[in-house]
Amino acid sequence: MKNLKLLLAGTVAALALGGTAAQAERGTDGDLKILFWQAVSTMNPYLSGGTKEVYASSMVIEPLARYDEKGELVPTLVTEIPTLENGGVAQDLLSMTWKIKPDVKWSDGTPFTAEDAIFTWKYCTAPDGGCAQAAQYEGVKSVEAPDPQTIKITFTEPKPYPYSAFVGAQSPIIQKKQFENCVGAKAPGCTDANFKPVGTGPFVVKDFKPNDVITLTANENYRDPAKPAFASVTLKGGGDAASAARAVLETGEYDYAWNMQVEPEVLATMMKAGKGTLVTAFGTQVERINLNHYNADPALGAKRSTKEAGPHPSLSDPAVRRALSLAIDRDIIDEAGYGEAGKPTCNIVPGPPAYASTKNDSWCLKQDIEGANKLLEDAGWKKGPDGIRAKDGVRLSFLYTTSTNSVRQATQELVKAMWAEIGVDAELRNASASVFFGGDPASPDTFQKFYADVEMYTNNFDGTDPEKYLAEWLCDKVPGPENGWQGQNIPRYCNPEYDKLVNELSKTADISKREELAKQLNDMLTEEGAHIPLIYRGQISSHSVTLEGVKMNAWDSELWNVADWSRKK
């Protein structure tokens, strides 16, 4: 009898041990509670384009390959990443071939095939559809399926960096069967499909309350039978960043909260409760001050900030542009407004590390009031009786705009004080973000119109390749009335040398050469003062101490590896 008991106890112990050794099973860790203070509007990123929608949908629908936390491409639905070396990318750079993993199933149990990828491309490029991710499919001539497991993409012209269509959270594959009748103008009508897309990801939408809360359950047909560890996900939306941080860090009601845009000292007090931690990742976001190369004098009326207005009376002087940068103490701005979520920078392409230049760090990262004053003095800008420098009747007094946001307004104040030290005056103004970034050609307050001397905001590029981004500073991309204010060369920088180099980059396939060229272009922009890069901005989120497996990712969706998340035992 005693032996039997011992034996039983031993078996139980062995079972328990075996259980832990075999790693978590699917759906054993209960509910994962995520908080997005900007609520999710739809689960179809092709109809929205907002970051919150892209992130939320990444738990359900997946691309062929995605970026990991280091910015490297990892296959998700395919066997490997096609390259020149493995023959996946054609020698003439005009096509590439993806091989789908065997036995990948949609959450409804039907097989995932190349037809779905072809359909996704057609869906996003259909006229009148207003696809928000159309740029991902730019330059794609056709998508074909030589067999159900193979996807062949043909480009209109050679693409040295072909990873855009079906790569990353912005470009996931949707099911043909579900969306077949939702192409083009009919897309918004398919509410059910847009709210509950069938996917290949670890979770399936069970209930969707737009702009409020999404309930997801583990996908029974997910390709890894041991994942996801959580049985369900509740993604709640609404509120503000500070209270979202509180719900994770202080009260512990939630496991994960996205985008903690909260003053560093507020976060520090919340952290004292010991319920959560902060995670940061740096992608490609740079807060910068654009310097207008054209005259923005209000007296010019509709002509201001266009080619017709002529060069800016003072900002066209390279010495002024350099001095404005020298006068700024980036460390103070970083400390006051960004904390862990920012680093001082002098690059417009701050990452990935292989693309980040260090050439200008020596002169640019350190504040040098004396040097800036000398530079202006030598260039003939003399201080007037009011302490503001002037030359030939032109005063160094600038209209400085940005979007309404407490960190930006604080930064404006700091920069104004720093510029005052070199005899430069600034008039501060801000416009609501939805107006400033709205791009309404009728509004005078958009960042594209740039009816100001200097303006500040953040921009970045998707993925890890900066080619398209660097092409924004081409001469023919200057916004103006002739193109409906649609160019992306906001500072109105124009240098034929730069254009030539961008052209070379678009023809270079060799990775190390591309890195070299990108750095050169980035350095040119900083040295010639197209803009003043200020802060390399990271993404900052918080998660509960009981949550394991979070790998903060700035190159893809933050929830990219939600299948690997688990509850600490």
Binding site: L35, A39, S41, T42, L47, S48, G49, G50, T51, D128, G129, G130, C131, A132, Q133, A134, A135, A185, A187, P188, T191, N194, F195, D207, K209, P210, N211, D212, V213, T234, K236, G237, G238, G239, D240, S243, R246, A247, E250, T251, E253, Y254, A273, S434, V435, F436, F437, G438, G439, D440, Q448, Y457, T458, N459, N460, D462, G484, Q486, G487, Q488
Partner: protein, 336 residues
């Protein structure tokens, strides 16, 4: 009275049409853009296509007529279809679609209405129930300790904004004491005692904040109106006739004092529907107020237009109810 009501109802039609036009025009003139919130990595050409797919490339007047048709013909037909099961035409009508969610605006409102009615409506009810006795006692015992404290609390409740009291209560009761949740769970369904308790718990803080605010407003009306009546001749007459003090106060004075108060309460009902925008946002109640504010921020014009118009309808309607109620409560007032 009936002809008066009918006349007022008919007059409401042109009023509402003008209101809808003004709202539409104002929203159109506002320098807001539905693509303004999108990441800058989405290029301008794509933004232009998005705007076109939303119908923004059409002229202003055409868009207004579309909205009129969708709101006044298509949506009511849809509701009728759903209620009766009848089919009008092919049933494939253009509905008012929200730009952000691309789903019918009416569905969104129906989804949000229960939260708002429960939380904000209950707070309004509690506010009224609290305000009347406090107002009555305050007036009857004017300048007593009770009156002084009541006046003080009403002033505090009225002047301290809900975004302050809300966060204060969260810090005390959610963060420090951990009695109540700080985030409202809209998925919670009351099925048994424990889920009912949970529902009460999550409603406690937002309802308290709003009830305090509503009560302090209404108490002042009750008190002022009671004071007016307490010094009237008929009160003295009643007392001289030997009517009991309780009857004087609750039958004679209170009834007469409530006439203006009922009007104030009726006029306040539309604010229940518009939701307490700030309080809903703080506690993430996600009712109509939160829906409106996200729509405004995201330049979701069809949603803002429809919501504000529904609020306008409610205000016009409750103004009428207040007027009619006035006539019923006070026999001296006749509209015909």
């Amino acid at each position: 009275m009936f002809t008066y009501t009918l006349r007022r109802l008919l007059f409401a039609i042109p009023t509402l049409l003008i209101i809808s036009f003004v709202i539409f025009a104002l929203l159109d003139l506002a320098p807001n853009d539905p693509t303004g919130d999108l990441p800058l990595t989405i290029p301008p050409e794509v933004r232009e296509q998005i705007r076109a797919s939303l119908g923004l490339d059409q002229p202003f007047f055409i868009r207004y007529l579309y909205w009129l048709q969708q709101f006044f013909i298509n949506e009511p037909l849809n509701i009728l279809e759903r209620l009766t099961g009848w089919q009008f035409g092919d049933g494939d009508r253009m509905r008012v679609l929200s730009w952000a969610t691309r789903s019918p605006v009416v569905d969104l409102i129906v989804q949000r209405l229960p939260q708002t009615l429960w939380v904000v409506g209950l707070a309004y009810l509690f506010g009224v129930l609290l305000a009347i006795p406090i107002g009555v006692i305050s007036a009857y015992r004017q300048y007593s300790i009770f009156d002084q404290i009541g006046t003080f609390l009403a002033m505090v409740g009225y002047s301290v904004p809900t975004f302050f009291t809300g966060v204060l209560l969260i810090v005390i009761f959610s963060s420090y004491l951990q009695w109540f949740p700080s985030v409202y769970d809209t998925n919670l369904v009351v099925t048994d005692v424990s889920s009912f308790i949970q529902q009460v718990k999550q409603m406690a803080l937002p309802v308290t904040v709003l009830a305090l605010y509503n009560a302090s407003q209404i108490t002042r009306f009750v008190r002022a109106s009671m004071l007016d009546n307490l010094h009237q001749d008929y009160v003295r007459t009643a007392r001289a006739k030997g009517v009991k003090e309780k009857a004087v106060l609750l039958v004679h004075v209170l009834r007469n004092s409530l006439i203006p108060v009922v009007t104030v309460i009726a006029l306040g009902v539309p604010t229940i529907f518009s939701g307490a925008i700030i309080t809903e946002q703080i506690f993430r109640v996600n009712g109509l107020g939160q829906l409106l504010i996200t729509a405004v921020q995201g330049a979701d014009i069809p949603l803002v237009q429809t919501l504000t118009f529904i609020f306008a309808v409610l205000i016009v309607f409750f103004n009428l109810i207040a007027d009619v109620l006035y006539g019923i409560l006070d026999p001296r007032i006749r509209y015909d």
